[in-house]
């Protein structure tokens, strides 16, 4: 479309955005836009519920909100966001200090203001027509078909400056800090392309150079291109990360592009940082699954693969029958591998971002990771199993015995705690953890934290210095906050649902259940010992507090790729 060239011809252009990005650099003016959390605003739902948006903080960099800029342009005398919202509130008939405060407190107005019935009819016929127009795809012959996808992390590129997302491993490829052109392994072999080779994709005048990646599950002769990478002015984190695939994409064909020429370039291999380099379970009982028929036949199928040891430890075990006993249950059936929990954990627990080079060295700090395994016989079209893994809070934790300074030890509530201040960093606990969930601050990953980022950190969680080990704490700070709250309210017991851990809160499919195992009414204790439940690697005798619910597949027998 050559938007950039067209924009240059405009004599006065004003860019209104929170970021000075590629578009801003081409405009004559930049207006700083306040963040949503810095702005007053309001909204009304289709059903007529009126809500007011209150800022959390005054604009840090003097930005103006959307309505303020509109108000200025419209020549309002009272153009401040607060005044504009006040005026609308006034129109709604909410008057007086008390009513205003109640509105802010509740977030929504007590009465509704008329429903809107927009034309939201299903347009089946239009869809059918559009599909018809697509017609039969032309045979590819020697060429390839490029498929543009919204990146699972950066979407169209709008989140390209977000460190957390840049470092989050792609749910499927496990690649961090980069995108890649994904090819079917069979296609790659045919072309002699290996992971990390640079390939040139071209059609007509447009061409891009991008790193190639063999991705099982991709259709033959198809190239998957995630959008949103390779930006030049995304910000200090996002600049020149990955490869820009937009040059190949046109408004005429925004989703697919057939007839693409692919050639392997004779240049140095491009380094890719992955957090997981081995893709199969090697026949081990890790992410345990069964088909529906197998489940009906043997409802407790995981127990056979990952049994508890026949004999207990030699020493006297701790008594966990009293007080709150925290546990977690992760349902592999519903986990989609989206990795929202990973970011939620990172945000909650001040987990540092380490950068591409350190990830390549195996030093990513994520307390919670999603393991992705390919299952099934076919290399080209495997099934996929996801398994979120954080500290399992073993009741017989191998890490605790080996620490020479007792920096990691068990709480009476069944948590595997770490006293960061006590840790001297021998890393023995990391070696002895069968789940490899313990993370070490190999370098000072929090050396230069800008003030604004410091404001974004969780004040209830210690920022760790180099040389100490850290890992999932079951959000111990949230447990403590809930207890303090209960105490101030004069309660001895915590209510079910009062402690919600960050990953659980963020999970869109409620795959993570957390709670008190000693509370018979809690959601977790009802399902903790369900038939599908198992402890990962429990045959070692670790007695993990986190348990999994085995995955059940209900394959369509007419589809050939499913596990027999």
């Amino acid at each position: 479309m050559k938007f950039a060239d067209a924009l240059k011809k405009v004599p006065t252009s004003i860019h209104f955005s929170s970021y000075v990005d590629e578009t801003a650099s081409l405009c004559t003016w930049q207006v700083p836009r306040a963040h949503e959390l810095e702005s007053w605003g309001d909204a009304q739902s289709l059903t007529g519920v009126y809500s007011v948006q209150q800022p959390l903080i005054a604009p840090l960099w003097g930005g103006r909100s959307d309505i303020e800029v509109l108000g200025k342009l419209a020549g309002l005398p009272n153009w401040r966001g607060y005044d504009i919202v006040q005026a609308t509130v006034d129109e709604r008939g909410i008057r007086g200090e008390i009513a205003w405060r109640q509105l802010l407190n509740k977030g929504v107005a007590p009465s509704t203001f008329g429903t809107v019935t927009a034309g939201l009819a299903a347009r089946d016929a239009d869809v059918a027509n559009a599909l018809k127009q697509l017609g039969e795809p032309a045979p590819l012959g020697d060429s390839f078909e490029a498929a543009f996808i919204a990146d699972p992390k950066l979407f169209d590129g709008r989140f390209a400056n977000n460190q957390w997302l840049l470092e989050m491993p792609d749910p499927m490829t496990r690649i961090t800090w980069d995108n890649a052109a994904m090819l079917a392994p069979s296609t790659a072999k045919e072309l002699g392309v290996k992971n990390g080779d640079i390939i040139r994709l071209s059609k007509g005048d447009a061409s891009i150079d991008i790193v190639a990646w063999m991705q099982p599950g991709v259709a033959a002769r198809s190239v998957i291109l995630p959008l949103g990478w390779g930006r030049t002015l995304a910000g200090s984190n996002g600049n020149k990360k990955g490869f820009d695939v937009y040059p190949l994409r046109s408004s005429a064909s925004p989703h697919y592009l057939a007839g693409v020429k692919l050639e392997k370039l004779d240049v140095r291999r491009y380094p890719i940082s992955q957090t997981q380099e081995h893709d199969v379970m090697e026949g081990r009982p890790i992410a345990i699954e069964a088909t529906l028929d197998e489940y009906k036949d043997k409802p407790n199928f995981p127990e056979f693969e990952s049994p508890d040891p026949a004999y207990g430890p030699l020493w006297k075990t701790q008594d966990y029958s009293q007080g709150n006993q925290w546990g977690m249950l992760i349902d592999l059936n519903t986990c989609t591998g989206c990795s929202t929990c990973v970011i939620a954990c990172q945000a909650e627990n001040n987990v540092p971002v380490v950068g591409k080079d350190q990830v390549a060295r195996g030093r990513e700090m994520h307390w919670l990771r999603i393991d992705r395994y390919y299952v099934g016989e076919s290399e080209d079209e495997p099934d996929v199993a996801f398994q979120p893994i954080a500290c399992q809070h073993c009741e017989e934790a191998p890490c605790e015995n080996v620490c020479p300074v007792a920096a990691t030890s068990h709480s009476p509530e069944g948590l595997n705690d770490i006293a960061y201040n006590r840790c001297i960093g021998t890393r023995y606990c990391m070696n002895n953890c069968p789940y490899k969930v313990r993370r070490f601050n190999f370098l000072n990953f929090n050396q230069e934290v800008p003030e604004t980022r410091q404001m974004g950190m969780n004040p209830n969680v210690t920022v760790r210095f180099r040389g100490v080990v850290e890992k999932c704490t079951y959000c111990v700070q949230r447990i403590q906050m809930a207890k303090i709250k209960a105490k101030t309210q004069g309660r001895r017991e915590l209510r079910e649902g009062e402690v919600v851990v960050a990953c659980q809160q963020a999970c869109s499919t409620n795959s993570i259940v957390f709670g008190d195992l000693n509370n018979p009414k809690s959601a977790i204790s009802r399902r903790y010992r369900a038939d599908r439940s198992y402890g990962l690697l429990s045959e070692i005798g670790t007695r993990p507090r986190t348990r999994f619910l085995g995955k059940i597949r209900n394959p369509n027998p007419e589809m050939k790729t499913v596990k027999a």
């Binding site: 380099e277 081990r284 030093r363 393991d371 015995n401 080996v402 001297i424 890393r427 180099r466």
Partner: protein, 477 residues
């Protein structure tokens, strides 16, 4: 007394040539510390000092930036650091074995090599101690691993094998140092008596603790030496057993093995003798001490290497057998992966160096050839380093969950810390052979062919050879 009297019927010959007498021993050994150092010494010392500098720079860089300066990662949280630690500790085993165990077994051939190997032990343990010190993330609070009274009312965790390590290695170091020093006292007195300058007289004199070679001195000396030998003997077995507990008590496949203590001890003796052999061959060449460190000594050493090398080979094969026999799939995988996985080259280097190369010592021609034994001693040391690398890195790099598998690649700082520790070792060793009697003069004198005691007053001191020394001392006086 049969130990000194070679039995001609079974082909035994005297340990040292016939022209060697007490005066010859004193002169030969003392002159090394009295005359200007030969050019060879300066070469070794200069090179060692350079690498000591490398160590300083590497450790400085490591302290400033953190453990991330090394290649360690998750899952390979221990790599070259602990490999080097175990390697050096292993090397430090020969000294005590030669001094204490061979002393108790009345193996008189040890007299030419014991001082030497004890010094080597001490320097090797110093190098070993370096690694647990620098490998912790927060070196400034390392003392928390010691049971010191403190305001936090915190003891270290007595369940941790790392803490057992602290005790085992520090005990070993202390006892070895005492043992070495006690054994040095009569020789320090000899150097003092021979000294021409006041500085030498005073400094050797201070460390000789007023030794006059009286009968009472010898009696006390013999008592102390025997007690320390008795104390050291179990340490020979315990130190490396405890070091092996670091691995054996863990839950990691490839580490969690009951064979580890004896296997580690055999390996330690193996590598220690190889290192002693390397150093002996160099020093007898540089200082021309071929009459005191004879081919017979070297051959004895080679025989021990053959035995311990075969023991180690047995352990390697038994590990494989048990991995299969246990039916534990993780254990099985670890061993198959060692031999055929990405680190196959490390495994087969280890096998070639440790199992195959010492088998050459079955042949007398090879066993008594200086170039061959020198090459093999170096090869064994390389092989033993790889053994620890294989145990530590290849076990960790692929453990239970395939999702966390990874690879290790060393950095320049890793290489600097390793070569630097060799620098530290050879610096200390060069200083030792230059300034201290590298051969226990009085002990060699006691093992001379003409040291047959003319009078026996052993009834008072029992069976531990005091009579021999008494005689030698009397002769000197």
């Amino acid at each position: 007394m049969s130990a000194i009297q070679p039995i001609a019927e079974i082909g035994e010959t005297p340990l040292v040539p016939a022209h060697v007498d007490a005066a010859f021993v004193s002169n030969e050994v003392s002159r090394v510390t009295e005359k200007p150092a030969p050019i060879g010494w300066w070469l070794v010392f200069g090179l060692a000092l350079t690498f000591l500098g490398v160590l300083g720079v590497s450790v400085g860089y490591l302290f400033w930036n953190g453990i991330g300066s090394w290649g360690n990662n998750n899952p390979i949280a221990w790599a070259w650091d602990i490999t080097n630690f175990v390697w050096w500790i292993g090397i430090g085993h020969a000294g005590t074995l030669i001094s204490a165990v061979l002393f108790l077994f009345r193996q008189k051939w040890r007299t030419s090599v014991n001082r030497f190997s004890e010094a080597m032990t001490i320097f090797a343990v110093i190098c070993a101690l370096l690694y647990p010190t620098i490998h912790v993330g927060r070196v400034w609070v390392l003392y928390w691993a010691l049971p010191l009274p403190n305001q936090m009312s915190m003891w270290p965790n007595f369940k941790s094998p790392l803490l057992w390590d602290v005790f085992a290695v520090s005990t070993y170091f202390t006892v070895s140092l005492l043992f070495w020093y006690i054994g040095l006292i009569p020789d320090l007195a000899t150097l003092r008596d021979r000294a021409k300058s006041l500085v030498r007289k005073r400094s050797y004199g201070a460390f000789a603790l007023g030794w006059r070679g009286s009968n009472r001195h010898w009696r006390n000396y013999e008592r102390a030496y025997l007690i320390l030998a008795g104390l050291s003997t179990p340490l020979v077995l315990s130190v490396h057993s405890v070091v092996s507990f670091d691995f054996a008590t863990s839950v990691m496949p490839g580490w969690h093995t009951t064979i580890f203590p004896p296997y580690f001890v055999a390996g330690a003796v193996f590598s220690g003798f190889a290192m002693v052999s390397t150093l002996m061959i160099i020093s007898r060449q540089v200082f021309g001490l071929k009459d005191l460190m004879t081919m017979k000594h070297l051959e004895m050493m080679n025989k021990i290497m053959l035995v311990t090398g075969s023991l180690v080979g047995y352990a390697y094969s038994m590990e494989f057998f048990i991995a299969w026999y246990s039916g534990n799939e993780y254990e099985k995988y670890v061993f198959i992966n060692r031999a055929t996985g990405p680190y196959w080259w490390a495994y087969w280097t280890m096998i070639t160096c440790n199992v195959i190369s010492p088998q050459l010592f079955w042949f007398k021609r090879l066993r008594t050839s200086i170039p061959v034994m020198f090459a093999i001693s170096i090869v064994i040391n390389i092989g033993m380093w790889f053994e620890r690398f294989v145990i530590i890195v290849t076990s960790l790099h692929r453990d239970y969950l395939p999702s966390s598998w990874g690879m290790f690649s060393p950095t320049l700082v890793d290489i600097g810390c390793f070569t630097g520790s060799l620098g530290l070792f050879f610096t200390l060793f060069s200083l030792f052979i230059r300034w201290l009697p590298m051969i226990a003069m009085f002990e060699v004198k006691g093992a001379l062919p003409n040291a047959q005691p003319s009078h026996v007053h052993a009834t008072a001191t029992g069976e531990h050879g005091a009579d021999i020394h008494g005689t030698v001392a009397a002769k000197e006086a």
